[in-house]
């Protein structure tokens, strides 16, 4: 049951109806029941054992930490919580199932084998959210909750199981557990956001996916501009898919009166790669900063390193080397989080680190060039060039992320410069996987998407939905009904309606 499926829509409609009928103090319990039901329906009753183990472990460890003053005991409980949940994550996600001699056929033969072969949905997301809660209790940045059902609701919250956002318990518990009276504004704004998410996912991402899949899966048939086209299509697919999913998830929460953290802030409007990562998958970045990067830089090794290096390389370089080393560890973890394979570790890990380090090191030279050409550093031209640079670098990195191996991605990118020359490849009447009118539909939708991004960027502090809300009634209705018609009639539903799966669901 993906969140763009018909069944999921029915599930949400019935759930929202009951949510506003039950007494306010019971609303969060309904959310818990719906989350368990979603988990069972989307995967299987056996799969829920995984999050259940993590939830119980984290709940008990956090409670234990809050009840003792003994520092050693606190640390021990923190380690137990971390080891159990991280070990489960590594076991099901990163160790190939084939190591245990398990295959889909074996899974059919019994409950135990089935249990062993499952990769529970959202495991990275609930593990990180729950670990964050444990760290907050340990660092005294949040209180331990005595009610396990609260922790279970937080850990299992169903819209987040697909692709996040990763929540912080201290921030979400207020809005999650207080009752919510039906608010017409919240409800309609939530539904509008869900609709926009569907547009991004079904009208845009699914079409980009067709082009990207065609070119990435048979790159031997293509060269030159086609490869560039396929790579750009994947970058746009990944972005519209992920941000579309977030709009649906945050929109559902908004319709229920719950305020969830934002996960994207128009990342492709960034001028540098560092800024890009402050605006892409924001909750993962915040989590890693709070619970990995800061503690890492607070270890004795990293605190002493600048002093040790200072005498040899000078103060400035010593500080830089220390930061770059800590960042390398951080980026390796981010790459690994996406999957154990090298194309993930390099593409969305080490390569990003390299981009950021090079960007910083080349900044003075860039400034000099801007001065030499008598350009304005914050002028439109320099800013546009910065955005183009970010798009190109991220497209190269995402191509590696999308390819099956690092070698595959290099071979594919090598074909951009192939000597065969550029000629249109039309296979069975399709141009790179799409018919011509699909191309037109996709490009028109892309223009609308970019326009909305630009409007949103110029109106910080408000939303495009709020701006539309200020317009006259007929204008509002034309926009929203037009969007509904567009999604229903021109959404790309693929071979089966529920076939649309979010890329990030796998992480």
């Amino acid at each position: 049951m993906t969140i763009t499926s018909f069944y999921f829509l029915c599930f949400i409609c019935v759930g929202a109806l009951v949510y506003y009928i039950v007494p306010k103090r019971c609303q969060w319990m309904l959310l818990l029941a719906m989350s368990v039901a979603y988990y069972v329906l989307a995967q299987s009753a056996v799969a829920i054992v995984y999050p259940a183990v993590t939830i119980i472990t984290i709940y008990l460890c956090a409670l234990g930490i809050s009840k003792t003053d003994n520092k050693k005991k606190k640390k021990l409980l923190l380690y137990i919580g971390c080891i159990v949940s991280v070990a489960l994550l590594i076991l099901v996600k990163y160790i190939p199932r084939s190591l245990f001699g398990l295959s889909e056929d074996v899974a059919q033969s019994g409950a135990f084998s089935a249990f062993m072969i499952i990769v529970p949905i959202g495991i990275s997301f609930y593990t990180f959210s729950l670990l964050g809660y444990l760290f907050d209790v340990y660092y005294e940045m949040g209180e331990a909750d005595t009610n396990i059902a609260h922790i279970a609701t937080f850990g299992l919250l169903f819209p987040n199981m697909t692709s996040g956002p990763i929540m912080r318990y201290t921030d979400i518990k207020g809005t999650l557990f207080e009752g919510h009276k039906f608010s017409y504004e919240n409800f309609t704004r939530g539904c509008q956001r869900i609709l926009w998410g569907f547009f991004e996912k079904l009208v845009l991402a699914e079409r980009f996916a067709r082009v990207a899949n065609e070119i990435f899966d048979s790159y031997d048939n293509y060269n030159g501009l086609y490869i560039i086209l396929g790579m750009c299509a994947f970058t746009l697919q990944l972005y519209t898919d992920f941000t579309g999913c977030m709009d649906i998830v945050i929109g559902i929460a908004e319709a229920l009166g719950i305020k969830m953290p934002e996960n994207f802030k128009r990342p492709f409007m960034s001028l540098t790669i560092q800024e890009f990562w402050q605006r892409w998958h924001i909750t993962l970045g915040t989590w890693l900063k709070n619970y990995l990067f800061y503690p890492l830089l607070r270890t004795e090794f990293f605190m002493k390193l600048p002093k040790t290096l200072k005498e040899k390389v000078g103060k400035k370089a010593a500080k830089r080397i220390t930061t770059y080393l800590a960042m390398l560890i951080l980026w390796t973890v981010i790459g690994t989080w996406h999957g154990g394979a090298w194309h993930y570790i390099i593409g969305v890990g080490i390569l990003q680190w390299l981009f950021i380090v090079l960007e910083e090191m080349m900044e003075p030279a860039g400034d000099r060039l801007v001065d030499l050409l008598k350009l304005k550093k914050d002028g439109a031209l320099v800013r546009t060039l910065g955005r183009i640079k970010v798009f190109i670098l991220m497209t190269v990195a995402f191509a590696m992320f999308r390819s099956l191996t690092v070698m595959d991605s290099l071979k594919m990118m090598g074909r951009i410069f192939s000597k065969e020359g550029w000629k249109p490849v039309i296979c069975e009447g399709l141009l790179a996987g799409l018919e011509w009118y699909e191309w037109v539909l996709m490009l028109v939708a892309l223009m609308i998407f970019i326009t909305v991004q630009v409007i949103a960027d110029k109106n910080e502090g408000t939303t495009v939905r709020a701006l539309i809300g200020k317009r006259a009634l007929p204008v509002r209705w034309i926009i929203w009904i037009g969007l509904i018609m567009w999604v229903v009639l021109l959404g790309f539903y693929g071979p089966g309606f529920s076939a649309a799966e979010f890329i990030y669901q796998g992480f």
Binding site: Y139, E140, M141, F293, Y294, L297, R298
Partner: protein, 79 residues
């Protein structure tokens, strides 16, 4: 140590960490007022402040400072 003395020492630390001799902090100074004060430099700054005063902030304290005034209040409780 008086509040003035704490600010005096803090100014030295800030100037050293951000490589800017013109920095003059007060209770209302925030990360927005100093160009290079991002999340990365924040940890470098905190580590340097700890070294200067011979104290140790908790993770909650170092993530909770909203301005230099709050940092000074915590320093006072630790020295």
């Amino acid at each position: 140590m008086t509040t003035e003395e704490i600010y005096e020492k803090l100014n030295e630390v800030f100037r050293d960490v951000f490589d800017d001799e013109d920095i003059e902090v007060n209770a209302e100074t925030t990360a927005d007022d100093i160009e290079d004060w991002d999340s990365l430099e924040h940890i470098n700054l905190v580590n340097a402040v700890e070294g200067e005063f011979g104290i140790k902030f908790t993770m909650a304290q170092l993530q909770g400072f909203k301005n230099v005034g709050e940092m000074v209040d915590i320093i006072k409780t630790l020295i």
